[in-house]
């Protein structure tokens, strides 16, 4: 598993999705909290200011301008107060209150927010909210509240919330990575075991952790499935072995009887010929039978357990050498291209049988005086080990190529030639056993005799 591949895992995506939802809800909750706390501070300030205005207006009503100014002086004189009071002339000169300068050049009635200079500690900027009202015969009245502490509190609340969200995000990410890693590692372990099992060690089973979680339940079921497959494979093996034994034994006896009959002295020629033909027929039948058993054995994948490194270049050279005299006898040129040494993991016997089947076919179908090309090397495009056998015979039409890989299929055009129609199915089965891609195509596209090229690309 590469270092960051867990980012692609389902668990990580799920965890990230849930984390996203969680963070979103945290943000919503905190937004609501902020709305209420900060809103409360503002409302509370406004209420306080308005209550003060009410008291001042009562004083004005009861005792007139003097009463108002006296009350303002009294209130503004208290150094601990957070309230701000100011009375100004219509031109903006301060008449009374605890404000040094009138905050606005153009005065109008209504709520304002402004900065106070030089109140309390000099040099420190303070914020305030205030209401400005016109006062009859006097000018303007400003009643406000120093907001510095409250804004500070609001800022702290906001900061706290940002911290809370960030921490939640960090914890969430760590949690998601940890969880997805843990699950990804378990899944990866299962993958590796399955790879080993498909590679041939059928006795292996997936590990159950005992936690009883959904992965454990899945693994238990997979193990049960593997047991079932093993049972079926054993059954299959027993069936083929039994068929092999049960059918081959009577054939064996039949062949033996005919052979004993051949030993009789003074056998008339006609009967001797019949016996010989009968034995040849049995041998042909047995050839079919052996091919089926080999295909069946290759298809169970049992042979994978005995895979060994096979020198593909040497193997094709040997097979080419085996068939070279036969090709020469038929007037064909057998060309071998294996300059690029290559080896694969596989069964030497089955690969040799595969190559031998392909060369046999190529020699059988090549045009008189033509060529058969046998090659082993690395595929130019993918770099994978490649084995190919090509001839310059009639080839196989594109729409029939899949068909010829099936068992017992022989193309109409070739009915007359000897063979049992299992050669290419055996090639296909052996290719599957080796996880090799089998490709049939035209050797010389566009020509009258396009020829057949069979190529196998092994896992790199």
């Amino acid at each position: 598993m590469s270092r960051f591949s867990f980012l692609r895992t389902t668990t990580f995506r799920l965890a990230a999705f849930h984390m996203g939802l969680f963070i979103l809800s945290v943000v919503v909750v905190l937004a609501v909290v902020y709305w209420f706390t900060a809103g409360f501070i503002n409302r509370h300030t406004e209420e306080t200011v308005l209550r003060e205005v009410q008291e001042l207006s009562n004083a004005m009503n009861d005792r007139g301008r003097i009463g108002l100014l006296r009350l303002i002086s009294e209130r503004a004189g208290d150094h601990r107060t957070d309230m701000i009071y100011a009375v100004a002339s219509p031109t903006g000169e301060i008449i009374a209150g605890n404000l040094a300068n009138w905050p606005l050049p153009n005065t109008a009635a209504g709520w304002i927010e402004f900065d106070i200079k030089n109140r309390g500690e000099p040099g420190r900027k303070r914020s305030a909210v205030a209401i400005i009202l016109p006062v009859h015969d006097l000018g303007w009245l400003l009643v406000g509240h120093d907001m510095t502490d409250r804004y500070l509190l609001r800022g702290q609340i906001l900061l706290g919330m940002i911290w809370a969200v960030s921490l939640a995000l960090v914890i969430g990410v760590i949690g998601a990575v940890y969880m997805s890693r843990r699950v990804a590692e378990r899944v990866e372990k299962i993958n590796r075991t399955i790879d080993r099992i498909t590679a041939g060690s059928f006795a292996d089973r997936l590990e159950v952790t005992g936690s009883g979680d959904e992965i454990d339940r899945l693994v238990t079921k997979l193990n049960r499935m593997l047991d079932e497959i093993a049972r079926l494979m054993l059954g299959m093996r027993q069936v083929t072995d039994n068929v092999a034994h049960d059918l081959r034994t009577p054939l064996s006896r039949l062949r033996a009887r005919l052979e004993l009959a051949q030993l009789e002295p003074d056998l008339p020629d006609a009967q001797a010929a019949t016996l010989e033909q009968a034995i040849a027929e049995i041998d042909r039948l047995l050839g079919v039978f052996n091919a089926i058993l080999t295909i069946a054995a290759a298809e169970t994948g049992r042979a994978r357990a005995d895979f060994e490194p096979v020198d593909l270049s040497a193997l094709v050279a040997e097979v080419a050498e085996l068939y070279e005299p036969l090709a020469e006898e038929k007037g064909l040129t057998l060309e071998l291209a294996n300059a690029d040494p290559v080896s694969v993991s596989g069964s030497r016997q089955l690969l040799a049988q595969l190559a031998s089947n392909l060369v046999e076919n190529a020699v059988k179908y090549a045009s008189p005086g033509g060529h058969v090309q046998v090659a082993a090397g690395h595929d130019l495009a993918s770099g994978r080990p490649l084995l190919s056998v090509a001839d310059d015979g009639p080839g196989i039409p594109a729409d029939q190529r899949d068909k010829v890989l099936e068992r017992f299929v022989r193309l109409e055009a070739h009915r007359g030639t000897p063979g049992h129609g299992l050669g290419l199915s055996l090639v296909a089965a052996v290719a599957r056993l080796h996880d090799a891609d089998l490709l049939l195509d035209d050797h010389r596209p566009g020509m009258e005799h396009p020829g057949l090229r069979v190529s196998l690309r092994f896992p790199g």
């Binding site: 006896r253 080999t294 005995d306 005299p325 040799a352």
Partner: protein
């Protein structure tokens, strides 16, 4: 040869017994593993023919027991199982040769005779460096072949083929035996590629010579032998 046939199938056993007797051998027969093991252990035989699936005790475990007691009578295992790993298991258990049923009697006979020869020859001193029959000479060290005074130029595989024929000179070797021992292939090609190889070898060995050394044995295989 004195041969013990351990085979439970009556028809096959009869046929083996009859055929081997006709070929001039002395034959004993056991129809189960227990009796077979008892006979093989108590009497001296030149060769054993053992069926793999036997009642009482299967053929492979019989061989293992026999080999464990130090008895190394050459044994040929007969089996209906023909796959490569079955064959390997058979050879590992102590079989000297392995033949898949059904087989041609000529094949069995040729293998028994070659097996017998191999065991007999094993005790005859140091390694052989020269093989010879009539005026055909093979030098295994120099890798050269001469027929009479004339050197014969052989390809490496032809050399191996001739070497196998020479080592078993006088015996019949079948096409399957050649494919197994010279090419190490345990499958039967559909066409008779071996015949073409023999024809080529014949061209080089017997052409221009009055006395042919490579003979075709009808229904069996080939034999390299001196004219009688």
């Amino acid at each position: 040869m004195k041969i013990l046939v351990i085979e439970d199938d009556r028809a096959t056993a009869d046929y083996l017994t009859k055929g081997l007797k006709e070929a001039g051998h002395v034959v004993d027969h056991a129809d189960n593993g227990r009796d077979g093991l008892f006979l093989a252990a108590s009497e001296p035989y030149d060769a054993l023919v053992v069926d793999r699936m036997l009642p009482g005790r299967d053929g492979l475990s019989l061989l293992e027991v026999l080999r464990a007691t130090g008895n190394d009578t050459p044994a040929l295992v007969l089996s209906a199982l023909g796959s490569v790993d079955d064959r390997v298991k058979g050879l590992r258990a102590g079989a000297d040769d392995y033949l898949t049923k059904p087989f041609a009697f000529a094949e069995l006979l040729a293998r028994l005779e070659v097996m017998q020869r191999r065991t007999k020859g094993a005790g005859s001193g140091g390694p052989v460096t020269k093989l010879q029959i009539a005026d055909l000479e093979m030098d295994l060290l120099a890798r050269t072949v001469k027929r009479g005074a004339k050197p014969v130029d052989l390809l490496p595989r032809e050399f191996q083929l001739l070497e196998y024929l020479l080592r078993n000179a006088g015996n019949v070797v079948t096409r399957t035996m050649l494919l197994e021992n010279v090419w190490d292939y345990h499958f039967d090609p559909q066409t008779n590629v071996i015949d073409v190889h023999i024809a080529r070898l014949r061209q080089k060995i017997d052409k221009d010579h009055e006395v042919p050394l490579i003979h075709t044995v009808r229904g069996a295989g080939y034999s390299l032998r001196e004219p009688v």
